[in-house]
């Protein structure tokens, strides 16, 4: 029973940690399947995290914060789009430029507006954060054996954005493989000339993809600053954007495998968090340093051993000119 509880708690932590990764990876999926490399994920997330926390702190409404986060991320996405699609600039450089700009701009604006050293004020008022939603009878179910705890810890008690992220995967898969828009999006990432010949605007499609990526990054950033923690802190994305990109490649640019990759990364991280100072069977207590290195070691092993070749969309990174 003790072990079972530990496993369920580990799964719950995995879900919490996977959510921002998954949102960002889905954002990258849309952009990259249309042929635009999305190295700006980190920057868009960070920008959204700052905007969401700042607006939520001043207005007291997390929904306005979410709106501001989405707007900011879309604006940044459009900057990338303008440079890479309209002016056929280098996509890697544009993405990095936006990220570096936001890393500096967020704390600077924060310092000017709130005078708190680049942080936003702490969000602790009612309605300033996405807090966990407790489902009916969760507390009663907790007392029950196996399925009850699963219900209480995993299904119930997450916040709204987690459910949104979970619903996003089947929805994206449906868009990509079952709709006309999805077909065109995939085509424009593989062979934009064919799409153009069919009389569909390549740039138009790519702009749509980049905007969708911005919207989803807005959700990811808002999750970080208003759901996972309470306020914006400098560099709070801590490389999650790049990690999401890695998950996307790991998942071969497909929605379901990407979900798997995100869950795996989050799981190793959650495991590292929980294994510290715990005596394991046979080996005893493992040194902290080894536990902290575990996610990286595991990822390298999995990448080297179990995942076949990942084939990128053919036209990725190539600006389209007629």
């Amino acid at each position: 029973m003790e072990t079972y509880t530990l496993i369920v708690l580990l799964m719950a932590a995995t879900i919490r940690m996977a959510t921002p990764l998954l949102l960002a990876a889905m954002a990258g999926l849309f952009s990259e399947r249309s042929g635009v490399i999305d190295l700006g994920l980190e920057g868009k997330m960070l920008g959204a995290a700052f905007a969401a926390a700042a607006v939520s702190a001043t207005t007291g409404s997390v929904w306005l914060g979410l709106g501001a986060g989405i707007l900011t991320a879309v604006a940044l996405a459009l900057v990338i789009g303008y440079a890479c699609i309209t002016h056929r600039g280098n996509q890697v450089v544009a993405g990095m430029a936006v990220t570096i700009m936001v890393v500096g701009l967020g704390p600077t604006l924060g310092l000017a507006w709130f005078n708190l050293g680049g942080q936003t004020p702490q969000l602790d008022g009612a309605g300033q954060r996405f807090t966990s939603l407790v489902w009916p009878w969760a507390e009663t179910a907790r007392e029950m054996p196996l399925p009850g705890l699963l219900y209480a810890e995993l299904l119930s008690g997450q916040n709204l954005l987690v459910y949104f992220a979970a619903a996003l995967v089947p929805f994206s898969a449906w868009i990509f493989y079952r709709t006309r828009f999805g077909l065109r999006l995939r085509a424009v990432g593989e062979n934009p000339h064919a799409v153009d010949t069919a009389g569909i605007s390549v740039n138009g499609l790519r702009y749509q993809a980049v905007i969708i990526s911005g919207v989803l990054c807005g959700f990811a950033g808002t999750y970080l600053s208003t759901a996972a923690s309470s306020g914006f802190v400098r560099d709070m994305t801590a490389g999650k954007g790049y990690l999401a990109l890695a998950a996307l490649i790991f998942g071969k640019w497909k929605p379901w495998p990407t979900l798997g990759a995100c869950l795996l990364f989050a799981f190793t991280d959650a495991l590292a968090t929980r294994l510290q100072g715990v005596a394991l069977p046979v080996v005893g207590v493992v040194p902290v340093q080894f536990i902290l290195a575990l996610p990286y070691v595991l990822t390298v092993l999995l990448l080297a051993g179990f995942v076949g070749q990942a084939v990128a969309p053919k036209a990725i990174g190539v600006p389209y000119s007629k």
Binding site: T5, L6, L9, A13, R16, M17, L39, M96, T99, I100, V103, G104, L116, G117, G118, Q119, Q122, D124, T131, S132, L224, A228, S229, S230, G231, V233, R234, D235, M236, A238, G239, Y242, L243, L245, A246, F265, D269, A270, T273, R274, Q276, G277, V288, Q289, L292, P295, Y296, T299
Partner: protein, 339 residues
């Protein structure tokens, strides 16, 4: 955590370069400077507004400014390369005393203090043995001991947690004192101890802190003590969200979540900074080592209107008794020694 190490290190290198340039220009002046006496302070990672260690230092400096009307210069470190530069720059621009906050500044202080023998340096949380350096350290194990007692006294499950920032001897010192206090009250109590990381980034990762705290709550802990700078903000938020108790660190953090923060392990960094500034001004500043503990009121636990309801008079009486015993030497709190 970054799985894109090459790319990421490239980014951080770009950032390092830009911030380095900025460092030279951005030594800011808080208010108008006075000609003859110019104090300066250099904060550590986590930043001036970490609501903990650095913030306490900043409050000391602010108090000095308010009391004397003398403005001070300040600098916030955002990457390791800035330390020497910032200090040398402050010294060159006529600082009379530079207070370096945090153990990571030790090597920078040693280097710059040799270059500028006429400038006074005070370092907090480390020892630098030079004729123009004053080293102030605290016996954190004593305040941690009292907080450990408080935790054990309110815990219903007999399980309590500790979340440290970067895994360094200083934080182990907190952890060891805490464990002794917990076991002093309840020898059978179980303690979960977690460190956030092994790099300075561990001072500013509230998301990770919250996750660590949640993992301890999941294992049955109902009180968690953090010694993790800004990471602790997440620890305390998680405690509030889960309806558990947290114990703050370095600054008085009771106000952050009234009703959830049991108490705070106070470390009078503000007093140390204020004292260094005013002694330097009065000319009574002396180099050498200074260790502040419970007898000197350098450390302690906080009690105010925000946690009055949590720390009942019965608990307070026990803490006061233990405090008196530590001061008189009846209870000896062992100090962590790095292996």
């Amino acid at each position: 955590m970054d799985f894109y190490p090459m790319l990421f290190s490239h980014v951080s290198r770009c950032l390092a370069a830009t911030t380095l340039c900025a460092a030279v220009f951005l030594v800011s002046v808080a208010g108008a400077a006075e000609k003859d006496f110019l104090p300066a302070i250099v904060y550590d990672f986590g930043g001036k507004f970490d609501r903990s260690f650095n913030q306490s230092a900043s409050e000391g400096a602010e108090k000095f400014k308010k009391d004397t009307g003398i403005a001070y210069r300040e600098f916030e470190i955002t990457n390791a390369a800035q330390r020497d530069l910032a200090m040398a720059q402050l010294a060159k621009r006529g600082a009379s005393i530079i207070v370096a906050v945090g153990f990571t500044q030790a090597s920078a202080v040693e280097k710059v203090a040799k270059q500028f023998p006429a400038v006074k340096f005070t370092i907090i949380d480390a020892v630098v043995d030079l004729p123009n350096v004053q080293s102030i350290n605290f016996r954190e194990q004593e305040s941690s001991f009292l907080c450990g007692m408080a935790a054990a006294l309110v815990s219903k499950t007999g399980k309590v947690g500790f979340v440290g920032g970067m895994d360094i001897p200083l934080i182990r010192k907190f952890a060891l004192g805490y464990a002794q206090g917990v076991h002093f009250v309840n020898p059978a109590a179980e303690i979960f101890e977690n460190m956030t990381g092994t790099t300075p980034a561990a001072w500013g990762d509230p998301t990770k802190g919250a996750e660590l705290a949640r993992s301890q709550f999941g294992r049955g802990a109902d009180v968690v003590f953090h010694a993790a700078g800004a990471t602790g903000i997440g620890v305390m938020q998680a405690a509030k969200d889960s309806g558990k108790f947290s114990i703050g660190c370095d600054s008085n953090q009771n106000y952050l979540h009234p009703g959830s923060v049991l108490t705070s392990a106070m470390k009078s960094v503000d007093v140390a900074v204020y004292r260094a500034f005013s002694e330097a001004k009065a000319g009574t500043w002396k180099p050498g080592q200074l260790v502040l503990g419970l007898p000197e009121n350098g450390v302690g636990y906080s009690l105010d209107e925000y946690n009055r309801k949590l720390l009942t008079p019965a608990i307070e009486a026990r803490l006061q008794r233990a405090k008196a015993d530590i001061v008189s030497g009846k209870i000896v709190v062992a100090e962590y020694k790095a292996p």
